[in-house]
Amino acid sequence: MTATPSSTRSYRAMALLAMAGCAFVSVASAGPADTADPAAPSVELVDEIAGKLLAGLESCRKLGTQAVLDLIDDDLPGLPGSDQQPKRGKVRVPSATTRVDALSLFREYAVEFDRAAKDGTPRTLSPELAGKFAAATRTVCEKGRLARAGILGEGTARVAELCFVLPLLAMPDSQWSAANTKSLPAWMTDGKGLPALERFALCAGRPLTAWSLASAREKAKPPGRVAYLCGATDELLEAGELGAARLTSTAGAEIAEAAGDSGTAAKLHLKTARAFADAGHAEKAIKHLRAVALRFPQLPECATISAGLARHLYDDDQVASARDLARDCLDGRRCGDRKAEFLYLHWLACRRLGETGNADASAREFLAAFPEHAWAADIHLVSGMRAFADGNDDEANRAFKLIRTTFPDARAARRLSEFRNRLTRLELITVDAETGLWRRTE
């Protein structure tokens, strides 16, 4: 059975929640052990909270943030931002390290969070995920009753604080104030949960929050915002977190463009387009790059965007359009440092369209200009295969030898090796051990 988009999303949501659960575990279990508080929350408790995160979908959808606030006021007084003073004073909150308290944040963003939880607007996590976080807050409030009764100690309050704040990460960076975003790492005073939180923030579409957390983690050498967002985008693309990758690359591109770093911005736009395309929205990738191209009329950025656009046109089976774009860039000297890409694409597109004459011309031009380029191996393979198919074994052997000796790691070399093995297995050729030359057995 294949996973539907919605089920894929819910699997991803589960994974996110599991990560969030890990963050709770690492934070809550580390703190109390250090202080040897007899009333410290156990790992089991935190596991339970994480478990509730995964299980509370339906109930939490019925629970709005106002209800959570009511619960807080009733059951968890003493947290910073609570309207009421603790009735028994058992809950102590380590607020010295934080510049913004959990409940204040919760109150500040509650309305928007409710809306996101119900509507599932595109820039937030899915309603299901947001709802699960709301369930977590309720769970914490319930645990707060235990805390108030003196059963659990200060660690519970830390977990509670995190549970208030984490759901709010489901709202986009743009809806948070810069000061609040910057102060978020202070919630994680021991730093052990930062990587998990950082990852979570990225997946939740909070790239700037993730950068903030990464900076807290790498205090000695905090990464630059754009460089961090570039790297994070690549990781998210590899992990298949395409929505998060798109948000991250878009955020990076905006910052880079604002800073006048158009080269990096153009590359980040390519990543945004890739995120669209990998998610099956080639048309959106093409539309995005066409729109962006207008903002980058100069070399080398226009070549970068054009190369990306040509790629997505080609991948979307708009082969003739891709070929025309490549030809335009080649003829109009709008290649920049991407001439190899345009020539290669022109060669491939022409072949796919059956225009062997044009393809051969591009192949010759490519080999003349970039004889050492790894993609040249593909061209040699095709010419060798054509010679072999025509029975011209001498020419085929020349091409194959060139691939073996000059491009041993290229994908063409791997394909050639597979082909050779198949032919030798069928006893159709013998291969000279010394020269590597192929000889037909018949």
Binding site: R351, G354, G357, A374, M385, A389, G391, E418
Partner: protein, 219 residues
Amino acid sequence: MQSTPLHSPTRQLRYSLPAIAALALSAASLCADPASELIREARAVDCKYCACGAFDRADAIGLYERALEANPTPEQRLDVLWRLARLHGENLVPGTGQTLDLQQASTYCEAIMGLCKDDGKIRREAALAAAKYANADRRFLAAMRYYNAAIAIPADPESTRRTIGALARTARILDASLLVAAMEHLIATHDSKETKAQAMVHLRLADADLWSLPKDFAR
């Protein structure tokens, strides 16, 4: 008994002479055309001409091969080569348990192709038969060569379509990139629009990964 003119010794001799001459001529002609005689003998045990019970594949092949060496006429040679190809390459009488020699069958087809340089139809037919035997013998590269030879000879569009399809299937057995190469070779070397169009069809059906851009393209 009084001899009649008909029965007179002179007359008898006169009437016998043509018969003797005919006999002598016949014997002479037999000596001059051993190929025909061998072909006649071969047909007596070749299932195409004899009853199934009389079929003896080994004898037929031996006699036909001797006929080939007996200076047959071009027509006889062509006919014998076809029979040898089929006797070597096809199980003509099911249940006789004969062992085929597919390579030899292809060789005879090649000989037909060499013999009929001016007759495209026969040459094409021989090339296709050779390809069939080579394919059955898993000599796929040879089969591709024969299919290419057949495609090079003009034929009706339907035959061309089928032959290009057979070439594509054979190449595909070995490697998808060989299929693409074979089709590209056809497009590059043939003027016929029909051939180019058919090759394009197979080119488009080739594995998608052959047409994929490198991963690091425009990244």
